[in-house]
């Protein structure tokens, strides 16, 4: 039996989304090369944990499913193994595009509840404040981004690992390692942010 044709679309499609991705997302200009072969999704070690594999996500971009794309966990579960990048027969920089979409998702407020956003914020805090990643402070800041109780719980769950790292001298005690010209670095980063806010992707 033929299904009745719905009178209006059940989902909202943003028909300008694909073009926006081409023009604003790092690597997005190469998206038009995708021929939907699925080598990326087939190569992905963590595809089972993703809402949609890269192939499907790219089709959704073309279909204009902006909200679904930018709020999908695909952007956050990518482990950056680059298997899809080397296997894509059309040279689409899949990992870079997922990363670029992640940056935009954060910018546009789609990722406020994502663990990755908390982790990335903690990471950037350390990288920009000290010029270096302090693994211990980034981890602690990330754990406590879930609240005091959850932070303590996560800390306790990983206590043995932390002790092992301290015992072997791989987690140092004391002030964070800091670069000499942290001020200079911060000026560079502030300037870069200002340039980026003028628009366009970093690849153009």
């Amino acid at each position: 039996m033929t299904q009745a044709v719905p009178e209006q679309a059940s989902k909202k499609y943003d028909l300008g989304f694909a073009r926006w991705v081409y023009e604003n997302v790092d690597g997005g200009d190469k998206l038009s090369m995708c021929m939907q072969c699925g080598a990326c999704s087939g190569s992905c070690p963590i595809g089972t944990q993703m809402d949609y594999g890269p192939r499907k996500l790219f089709m959704m971009i073309r279909a204009g499913m902006k909200d679904a794309v930018l709020s999908s966990n695909t952007l956050w579960n990518c482990t950056k193994c680059y298997r899809c990048v080397v296997r894509c027969p059309r040279g689409v920089p899949v990992t870079y595009i997922l990363g670029g979409l992640g940056s935009k998702a954060v910018e546009l407020g789609y990722a406020d509840k994502e663990d990755s956003k908390s982790f990335a914020s903690a990471f950037w805090w350390s990288a920009s404040k000290f010029g270096r990643t302090d693994e211990r402070l980034v981890t602690a800041k990330y754990y406590f981004s879930f609240g005091l109780v959850d932070g303590i719980k996560r800390g306790i769950a990983n206590l043995k690992i932390a002790f092992g790292m301290i015992k072997t001298g791989r987690m140092h005690i004391g002030a964070p390692h800091k670069i000499k010209d942290a001020k200079g670095l911060q000026s560079i980063l502030a300037k870069a942010k200002e340039i980026e806010s003028r628009g366009g992707s970093a690849s153009s």
Partner: protein, 304 residues
Amino acid sequence: MSETENKKFTYYPGCSSQGSARHLDESLRAVAPELGIELEELDDWNCCGASVGHVGGGTLPNLSLTGRNLANASKQGRQDVLTGCAACYLNTHAGNEKIKKDVALRGRVNEALSAADLSYDDDLQVRHACEVIVNDVGLEKIKDRVTNPLTGLKVAGYVGCQTVRPFANTEGGGSYDTYDDPEFLDNFAEACGAEAVDFDVKTACCGGSVSVMNPEKTLHLIKQILDAAKDVGADVIATPCPLCQTNVEMYQEAINKEFGTDFNIPVVFYSQLMAVAFGMDKEKGAALQRNTIRSEKLEGMAKS
């Protein structure tokens, strides 16, 4: 390269060299002169942005981290930049190639760098330590330096991802191996007198930073690597990657708890194997005391 003259590199150790991967940095610095490599540390180096810098800071600020390092490196001379860290290599190499190819992008990066009176106008090469050892040093030189062969040590060479993907076998990446079935790590182990066992998951993924954030999503990935090592009876897993080393080592207990397994397999860096094979001190040279799972067999072979 002549026997007496060392080749100089600007050395970018990366943040993990002061934390979780001190044993990579220490053993690499120890074996480098033996291999004819002189490492001059990059002045005031900063973080490369790792796997999440673009999310935390945005694409251009993240690239500017690399820009600053390259600007400082070019002040130190035109010699190649060398790093032992997979993520540092990936970000710095990729950023460098992008900047070199794209005039407009270089302009944007330099505009940002001008805020600290820096500028990157050079065309440096950013290289991975393993690629340098393959192409500039050669296996013969490793063999020449071995005074304490690791006879009978079964090594599972676990390359991981970013050391070879996506830049192995590319012109800018040094054309030193393939990304599907890289052989350099097995060759290093064999050159040190060890036995490189068949290891079909050599380029499998440990979960990278997702394993740090949400290990529950990726423990099964690490388990695959451990299963394969156990199946072939490996005494140690050897890797070039700081995050692979830490992830595969530190989550073994969590994996045992989750899957009812009994893994306790040491995970070491290739440079630690070299240091032991070159007859160096097991702590000061090979930094074996920094492994949380110790290899009695390897330590038994090491000079103290």
